[in-house]
Symmetry: C2
Subunit: 239 residues, 2 copies
DNA sequence: GAGTGGTCTAGACCACGAG
DNA sequence: TCGTGGTCTAGACCACTCA
C-alpha cells in the first residue's frame, strides 16, 4: 500500500513529466498543495522532499518550489575519463579556491601517509553554477608538491600536475549520505537531499600520496561518472 | 546556529564514539530520548535519521535503534579494481539471482543499443549480509551473450564473462538519491536513507553493449570504490 | 509587509517484532 | 499483548525573499 507522500510525489511527477508543470515554473505554495491533496503540510513537504532528491524540484526558501530544468545535471568525471566530458558544462561553472598552509590534521596523517604535524597545503574549492553552489572540495597536497598557482577554472576538480611525480593510481571512494549542517548550508540544499561524498587518493609509483581530496556533491544536481578502458591487447588475466 | 536535530545528533555521535553506547547496543527508545532531550518525537527522529544516514545507527521497526558495527561497510568495487578487495567480505554476502527472458523495455533500447522488442536476459540480484539486504541489481544482457548459468556467489556484481567479446570500456554513473518506496521496502531501509544509484554499461570494441546494469546500494552500509591505474610507460598526453 | 519555505510541537493511529 | 518504530495531523513560530 503506497504511502501518502509517495502517492503525492507520483502525481506531481506525472504532472511534471506530462508538461502540466513546466521547467522553471513555480509550483503552487505548499499550503495550497496540502489543501489540494487534503494532507497536512508536513506530509506534503515529505512528498516534495522525494522529488527534490530526484532532482525534479528545487526548493527556494522564502520563494517557492520550482520545477528543475532536467538536462542540467553536472557530471563529475572520475576514473580514466578525459576532461572532455566536462567541456559542455565548464562554461557554466565557476570555481573559487582558497589556499592555506596547515599542519596535517591527525585524521589525515594516516591517509596521506605523511608524518604527523608536517606541513601541507589545503585548498578549499567551492564550485558554482550561476548562483547555485554545486560542489565543495577539500584538497590536500604535500607542501613540496604544491604549485604556487593552479589553473582550475572550468573543472570541478584538479588533477595533480603531471609534471613531477608520475601518477600511478587513483582510488576514489564514493558514498551516499545526508549532508552535515555545514555542508547543507554551504551547498544551499535542504538537509534531506542526499550528497555524493567522494574521497580521492592519488599515489605515485613509490606509494607516496600525491594528493588527497574530499568532495561533497549535491545529489540532486551532480552525478559522478567513472570510465574504465581496457587496452585490447592487454587481456586481463584472471587471478 | 545549530538546529536541535543536529545538536542531538552531535551529542549521540559523541556518546557512540566515546563508547558510552557500544556497537550492537540498543539505544533507549525514541520516546525516552525525546523526553531526555526535551524535544518532540519528530525532532528526535530527525536527529536519528542523520545518524542513520551516516551509518552509525540502524533502525529496526518494532524493535529499536541499534549502534552499528562501524567497520562492516561493504565495498562495491568498480573501475579496474581486481575482485581482491571483495575477498574479506565475500564470506558474509549471499546472492540470489532471478533470471528472466524479457523483451527490451523501451527506456532501455537506446541504452543497450539494441533494436526495440528484441529479446534480452534480465537478471535480478538481491545481495544479503546475514538477514539484511545490501544490494539490488538489475542486469541486462543481450540474449545471445547470456550464459546459462553464472557463478556469482561472493560478489555483489558480475562481470561479463571475458571469454567471448573483449571488454573495452566500462562506464559507471553514480548518483545519490532517496530510494523509491519499492527500493526502501526491498532493501529494508527507511525512506530517509540515501542510496547509491549506479548505472553500468560495458561495451566491446565495436561499441556494442555487452551488459547494462542498474544497481541500488543502501548508502548507510555500502560504499563504491573505483580504482584507476595508469601504466607508468603510458604517460597520459594532455589534449 | 506579505508570502514563502524551514523547524518544531504534542499528540493520534498504524505496522512490526518479540515474548 | 506490549513496546517499538513509521506515518500523519493541525497547528505555532521563525527565517528568508521579494516587492
Amino acid at each position: 500500500m503506497p504511502s501518502r507522500r509517495h502517492a503525492i510525489a507520483d502525481d506531481l511527477r506525472h504532472q511534471i513529466s506530462s508538461g502540466h508543470f513546466k521547467a522553471g515554473e513555480r509550483l503552487p505554495s505548499e499550503a495550497q498543495l496540502a489543501t489540494q491533496y487534503a494532507v497536512s503540510t508536513s506530509t506534503l513537504r515529505n512528498a516534495l522532499a522525494l522529488l527534490q532528491g530526484e532532482g525534479l524540484v528545487e526548493k527556494i526558501h522564502g520563494n517557492g518550489n520550482f520545477v528543475r530544468h532536467p538536462l542540467r545535471r553536472i557530471t563529475y568525471a572520475g576514473g580514466a575519463a578525459a576532461p572532455a566530458s566536462w567541456a559542455t558544462f565548464s562554461a557554466h561553472l565557476r570555481m573559487i579556491a582558497q589556499t592555506a598552509s596547515i599542519e596535517v590534521p591527525s585524521h589525515l596523517s594516516t591517509l596521506l601517509n605523511v608524518p604527523p604535524r608536517s606541513n601541507l597545503t589545503e585548498v578549499l574549492f567551492t564550485t558554482d553554477e550561476g548562483r547555485k553552489p554545486r560542489g565543495l572540495a577539500y584538497i590536500y597536497i604535500p607542501r613540496d608538491l604544491a604549485p604556487a598557482t593552479r589553473s582550475v577554472v572550468g573543472q570541478i576538480t584538479v588533477r595533480p600536475p603531471d609534471a613531477r611525480p608520475v601518477l600511478v593510481e587513483v582510488q576514489e571512494r564514493v558514498s551516499a549520505r545526508l549532508p552535515t549542517q555545514a555542508e547543507a548550508g554551504t551547498l544551499r540544499i535542504s538537509p534531506t537531499v542526499p550528497v555524493l561524498s567522494l574521497t580521492r587518493v592519488s599515489t605515485d609509483a613509490t606509494g607516496h600520496v600525491i594528493e588527497a581530496a574530499s568532495l561533497v556533491l549535491p545529489g540532486d544536481a551532480v552525478d559522478a561518472l567513472f570510465t574504465t578502458r581496457f587496452a585490447t591487447e592487454e587481456r586481463n588475466s584472471k587471478e
